[in-house]
């Protein structure tokens, strides 16, 4: 781990850029990943079987985990050189996340869930602009008429649409999606994957999707296979 604190912060041309990464858990699990570079609007599918380390890679890109070897730069800044608070701020303001189990808050309605990031970090200000963007995104993902609906009254597909709107509401430069179609019917998988690709691209965000689902790989700029076999 190189102590490389100062970084060209103006280098926004590259939402995320890594050298070859090595990550190891105490359990003995080890992940090795080739260098990744993503341009704004670019997309990468990370493919591999369960337990191959796809989620771990996303964790390294979001700054939740730090690599044992190698570097992750976001907007030119070295994540490992940032403190915990700075990495949380980075995650809150520059990264949008979508999860397999949707991870919506049951006590909040559709619009409130979409705006949740603004209530979690001081660097994000919940203003009229944020609300307008949330409504616009919900309209774009087809939930314009369900903004006040309770989460438990939504279908799985609708829940993931809320999650996509939430991931994009902060205008992130990088969107990380961990098995975003894993809990969906086959017919919905491609629809949601396409929506994710389209919206991330439209928002100018780089998209990294971890999946073991071959059927959705078609629209991605690049596919990175991890976990040895493929």
């Amino acid at each position: 781990m190189q102590p490389q604190a100062q970084a060209p912060a103006s280098d926004l041309a590259c939402p995320v850029e890594t050298t070859a990464l090595v990550f190891r858990r105490e359990t003995g699990f080890e992940l090795r990943v080739a260098p990744i570079t993503l341009a704004p609007g670019g997309s990468l599918a990370v493919r591999g079987p369960s337990g191959s380390g796809k989620s771990t890679l996303l964790g390294l890109l979001s700054g939740e985990l730090l690599p044992l070897e190698g570097e992750v730069r976001a907007g030119g800044r070295l994540l490992s050189a940032m403190g915990d608070a700075a990495r949380r701020a980075y995650r809150a303001t520059r990264v949008g996340q979508v999860f397999q189990t949707f991870e919506l808050v049951a006590s909040l309605d559709v619009l409130e869930n979409t705006l949740l990031p603004f209530r979690l970090h001081a660097a994000l200000v919940l203003d009229d602009d944020a609300r307008a963007r949330a409504r616009e995104l919900l309209a774009r993902v087809g939930l314009g008429d369900k903004t006040t609906r309770a989460i438990d009254r939504l279908s799985h597909g609708e829940r993931q649409r809320v999650a996509i709107a939430r991931a994009l509401v902060t205008r992130p430069s990088l969107v990380l999606a961990d098995e975003p179609t894993g809990n969906l019917d086959p017919a919905l998988k491609r629809e949601i994957a396409a929506l994710l690709l389209e919206e991330a691209k439209g928002a100018g965000a780089a998209l990294v999707v971890a999946t073991h689902d071959e059927s959705i790989l078609g629209g991605f700029d690049r596919v990175l296979a991890i976990g040895g076999d493929a």
Binding site: A92, F99, T101
Partner: protein, 395 residues
């Protein structure tokens, strides 16, 4: 900003499981409120009882139960030992050491105790009817504020005394009373009582009545003989006991009213020395009367109640501690059940402090609601003080 968002999320979260949280707040509120309520209630009841006890320096009655004498004579809630008569009052009033106010009990009207006394009773308490006037003739009564409310009595209203009394096996015949006035609220046993003068009380107890002169009576057999100026009445003579307007003057008593029963007398010595002399006067062997200091007696009673109250308070505090423990466990469990939600907040960039603020806001809101419940319980409890007084005095 942090506080506003934490509060927003906390309110949403509490609202989502509102039944559980309302129950939690209620349980906590009661657990915290009950010990406070108990203390407040006992404090209020003891103040009221001490105030009442202090309103009469001494109580005179027939020998027997001291508690029946005090609880009867001052609280109208017990029947003092029988045996006191009006002429006994001369023994305390005789050499101007004190004045005495008679109290005659033994009847109720609409379940409220009817108290026979003199106008002095009200002068001593500076009590004037808030509506209407003081009783003036046989058959008139003034009513305490609570009794007036409970029995819907106003000046001019009429009420029959209750037909039977356990304390008088000879039977108490109903007498219709006319309400002349209603007393102001005093937070004392006066509020629940109906006051009449002694002759009315004796009438209720069957010692006074009115009837036509047997010689003028319409009923055949009303007059069974004449002894000079005296007429001998027969059983057929109609005896009227209702004190309707205009006939009060015809009421009369057969026998010496100085020997009629009263139950207690409130004794007001002119000074401390007079009080000491009077107390010494009723300690002799073979003495049939009893002069007691109600303040000392009530202090002893309250000591016992507070002993019980302290035990109850200890139990209540133990229960409160238990409920707090259960509430804390419930809260901890609810946090664990929402571990995913909290982890999500951190993954989306929330600091641990932000997540902690959210949980703290939730706990604070539940505690605030519980405190409100506790406050309501503790503040309304003293309203039960009259009940405690009644239970204590045996009414």
């Amino acid at each position: 900003m942090i506080a506003r968002h934490a509060l927003f999320l906390a309110i949403r979260s509490l609202r989502h499981a509102w039944r559980r949280n309302a129950l939690l707040a209620l349980a906590l509120g009661l657990a915290l409120g009950v010990p406070l309520a108990l203390t407040a209630l006992l404090d209020r009841a003891s103040v009221d009882m001490r105030t009442r006890a202090a309103s009469a320096p001494l109580v005179l009655g027939a020998r027997g139960s001291e508690s029946d004498l005090v609880f009867g004579g001052l609280f109208f809630a017990a029947t003092p030992p029988r045996g006191l008569v009006p002429q006994d009052l001369a023994r305390v009033e005789g050499d101007a050491l004190a004045t005495a106010v008679p109290i005659a009990l033994g009847a109720t009207a609409g379940k409220a105790p009817v108290v026979g006394t003199s106008i002095d009773y009200f002068d001593r308490r500076s009590l004037r009817p808030a509506a209407g006037a003081m009783f003036a003739t046989i058959g008139e009564c003034v009513v305490g504020s609570d009794a007036a409310r409970a029995l819907a009595l106003a000046p001019g209203a009429r009420i029959f005394t209750d037909p039977a009394s356990l304390s008088d096996l000879a039977g108490v015949f109903p007498l219709e009373l006319t309400v002349s006035g209603v007393l102001p609220r005093t937070r004392s046993p006066d509020d629940g009582a109906i006051f009449v003068d002694l002759p009315t009380m004796w009438t209720i107890r069957g010692l006074g009545h009115r009837h036509d002169d047997p010689r003028d009576a319409a009923e055949p057999g009303a007059l069974i003989g004449e002894d000079g100026p005296r007429a001998i009445a027969g059983e057929a003579l109609r005896i009227e006991r209702a004190a309707t307007d205009g006939i009060a003057a015809d009421f009369h008593f057969h026998g010496d009213t100085q020997a009629f029963p009263i139950d207690a007398a409130l004794v007001y010595p002119i000074d401390a020395k007079a009080q000491a002399i009077l107390l010494g006067r009723f300690t002799g062997k073979g003495e049939t009367l009893h002069l007691v200091r109600p303040d000392l007696f009530i202090d002893r009673v309250l000591e016992r109640i507070f002993g019980v109250g302290r035990i109850l308070g200890g139990v209540a505090i133990a229960v409160a501690a238990l409920v707090l423990l259960v509430a804390a466990t419930t809260f901890a469990l609810s946090i664990r059940l929402r571990a995913d939600e909290l982890a999500l907040m951190e993954r989306l960039g929330a600091s641990r402090a932000r997540v902690a603020a959210f949980l703290a806001a939730e706990a604070a809101l539940v505690l605030a609601a519980a405190s409100a419940v506790a406050a309501v319980v503790a503040l309304t409890a003293p309203l039960l003080a009259p009940l405690v007084m009644r239970l204590t005095t045996g009414g």
